[in-house]
């Protein structure tokens, strides 16, 4: 094990996968110079055929990812900020998500669309969206949201090897986050949640950027003798429902922490699933800790007011612990 930043873990995953399979190609805006550091060194190592800087042309880039994948390549299409998924959305939503299905399963489309998502860096509304719910609703796209350097590397390697389109969303504010990463090769299968803490009192499901505040909340709740079952789904499509359900059956209480806007968020979807499958086990209302349905503001105090933190998670937990909600 070696301590690495998340962005370095991602960089390693790309190096290893491009080394392993010469059909892996990567393109995107400024991938040579690498704004975030995740594609640093790839151009030098693998050359300008397999690693290409593109013009700022998301519409054609996402389309090209589909065409090159249909024609036999494993494509990593780097879209920089998640909001730029919207400018290239036609080929993601109308082509990548549907082409295999529409053509009766004639092809596979091994594509990874990479981007950072979420707020927290005063990048303002057009660089701070958490758009995983829109992607989850497309049907034909896998959605991966790593919460640690270890997960980021293992999941990205798995995403590159996957024969389906995958959107790999790295929490924008977490690139510098440190964590232990194995020195030997490993992959993490998509659709397997991880239990980050074992407890019997309450389940907390935390997504992407929300994993760190949830870990802090878990520690502080533990000091109050409230034991949290903390789960990071790691991928939202496919979603490891069973791990969440078995935790809810154990604790009877669940909070879902998601940086998406509340309406039709991953949190609301998971909440609905828990009602369907675990209704008789629930001892309290399901709580969603999400972002209000507004755009992300620029100024730090405004941004802080909207992005969920450990205090909100603790407050939300306390509201359903010890049946306190019943006295309301």
């Amino acid at each position: 094990m070696t301590k690495k930043r998340m962005i370095h873990a991602i960089n390693e995953a790309l190096f290893e996968e491009m080394e392993r399979d010469e059909k892996v190609i990567l393109f995107g805006e400024d991938v040579g110079i690498s704004l975030f550091g995740d594609t640093k060194g790839l151009l030098k190592k693998f050359g300008p055929n397999r690693v290409r800087n593109t013009p700022i042309s998301e519409t054609v880039m996402t389309g090209m990812a589909v065409g090159a994948a249909a024609a036999g390549y494993r494509v990593v299409c780097h879209l920089m900020f998640g909001n730029f998924i919207y400018t290239g959305f036609d080929a993601i939503a109308n082509q990548a998500a549907k082409l295999r299905y529409m053509t009766g399963g004639q092809i596979t489309l091994p594509i990874v669309f990479m981007a950072v998502f979420g707020g927290g860096k005063s990048s303002a509304a057009q660089h701070s969206d958490s758009m995983h719910p829109q992607l989850m609703n497309l049907g034909g796209i896998k959605v991966v949201t790593p919460g640690s350097p270890y997960d980021a590397k293992g999941l990205l390697k798995s995403a590159v090897r996957d024969d389906n389109p995958v959107v790999f969303l790295q929490a924008g504010g977490r690139g510098g986050q440190n964590g232990e990463v194995p020195d030997e090769e490993y992959i993490i299968e998509l659709g397997q949640a991880i239990e980050l803490n074992n407890g019997d009192d309450i389940t907390i499901v935390a997504i992407g950027s929300m994993v760190q505040p949830a870990i802090r909340a878990t520690k502080e709740l533990s000091e109050m003798n409230i034991k949290v079952d903390l789960i990071d789904p790691r991928s939202l499509v496919p979603l490891d429902k069973n791990k969440i359900f078995s935790s809810v059956r154990k604790t009877g209480k669940i909070i879902i922490v998601d940086e998406a806007k509340d309406m039709c968020s991953a949190a609301s979807h998971i909440a609905a699933l828990c009602v369907d499958e675990c209704f008789e086990y629930l001892k309290a209302p399901i709580k969603r800790v999400t972002v209000p349905d507004v755009a992300m503001p620029y100024s730090p105090p405004l941004e802080k007011a909207l992005i969920p933190n450990h205090e909100q998670i603790i407050k939300s937990a306390m509201s359903i612990i010890n049946d306190s909600y019943k006295s309301k």
Binding site: R50, A68, Q95
Partner: protein
């Protein structure tokens, strides 16, 4: 006389092959038009009647290892690239033996084994995809090319500029074939398209060729120049083929449009320049007998009858299959 001289450059068997393909496309479309009118088709169809010279003139240069991406008006390209008409008809009829097992229908006919990435329901959806297939062909370095067929309506989508820019920069083996049929769905081109489409190639230093899209030999010659250039590493070409859509945008419009946007006199005028009689005359000028051409025509009609029988006999897809093919 001029046409005769031009035909002299082409082997007779090439001319005959193109005529046969054009006849096949024309009569399949006539069949589907009648099928729609008789309520046999579950969904909309956009017929290629009048534009056959373009698909056959371009696809004559291609093999199965070259790629084409097409449009919602895509049956002609499918047939010209070697797609099976039994499977085409079964698909448009919504049957299990369709080329996409009934999952795609008219707007999504594709056969990847023949290099047919497919028709596309999104106007200009095929442009980015074919640029990606061209990238794959460039990386494969086997001299293969990718063709994007699109209409004058699609020329007004921004992705055309993006594709011209990136394909010029990267010298992609891409041929952008704009079939200017005079209409953007229900809007005459003059009301929605500024300037000249072929001239849009100039600022990107992409060669542009304007051809008579009703003259198969003209199209063949432009295709020859563009495809040879692409195969030898010379990069992309934009071909604008001026033609005319004999039918409406979509067959269903005859039952719902209250206002005329395509005058009968205009259709009649263009029928005088129908690509099929024009090509037939060129063959007669080459010394091919009327008898031989009639035999060809009879054979084509027999093939279509067999294809209709095949499609009619094919079962509907099982309901249980509806969730198949989303992911591999």
């Amino acid at each position: 006389m001029k046409k005769n001289q031009k035909a002299g450059n082409l082997p007779t068997d090439v001319l005959l092959s193109m005529y046969e393909q054009a006849l096949l496309i024309r009569n399949v479309e006539i069949q589907l038009g009648a099928d729609f009118k008789n309520g046999k088709l579950p969904g909309p169809v956009h017929l290629y009647i009048g534009q056959e010279a373009i698909a056959v003139g371009i696809c004559q240069h291609l093999s199965d290892s070259d790629w084409i991406a097409s449009t919602h008006r895509g049956h002609g390209h499918f047939i010209a690239k070697g797609g099976n008409i039994k499977k085409l008809l079964a698909e448009v009829y919504g049957r299990n033996d369709g080329i996409c097992h009934g999952f795609g229908g008219s707007m999504h006919v594709a056969d990847f084994s023949k290099g047919i990435i497919g028709a596309n329901g999104i106007v200009a959806g095929g442009i980015g995809i074919s640029a990606g297939a061209a990238l794959a062909a460039q990386l494969d370095n086997d001299g293969n090319v990718a063709i994007a067929f699109f209409g004058d309506g699609a020329a007004n989508q921004g992705v055309l500029c993006e594709a011209l820019n990136i394909s010029s920069l990267w010298k992609l083996p891409l041929i952008l074939v704009c079939e200017n049929n005079g209409f953007s769905e229900f809007s005459p081109s003059s009301t929605v398209t500024a300037g000249s489409i072929v001239d849009r190639a100039n600022p990107y230093k992409v060669p542009g060729i304007l051809v008579d899209g009703n003259d198969t030999i003209d199209v063949w010659q432009a295709g020859n120049i563009a495809i040879e250039r692409a195969r030898s590493g010379g990069g992309p070409t934009l071909i604008e083929a001026r033609t005319y859509r004999h039918r409406g945008h979509v067959e269903a419009e005859y039952s719902f449009l209250s206002e005329e946007y395509q005058s009968e006199s205009e259709v009649e005028k263009w029928k005088e320049r129908d690509p099929l009689p024009l090509l037939k005359q060129q063959l007669l000028n080459e010394g091919i007998s009327e008898n031989q051409l009639n035999e060809l025509s009879t054979a084509v009609l027999t093939d279509i009858k067999e294809a209709v029988d095949f499609a009619d006999k094919s079962p509907w897809p099982e309901k249980s299959q509806a969730t198949k093919f989303m992911f591999k």
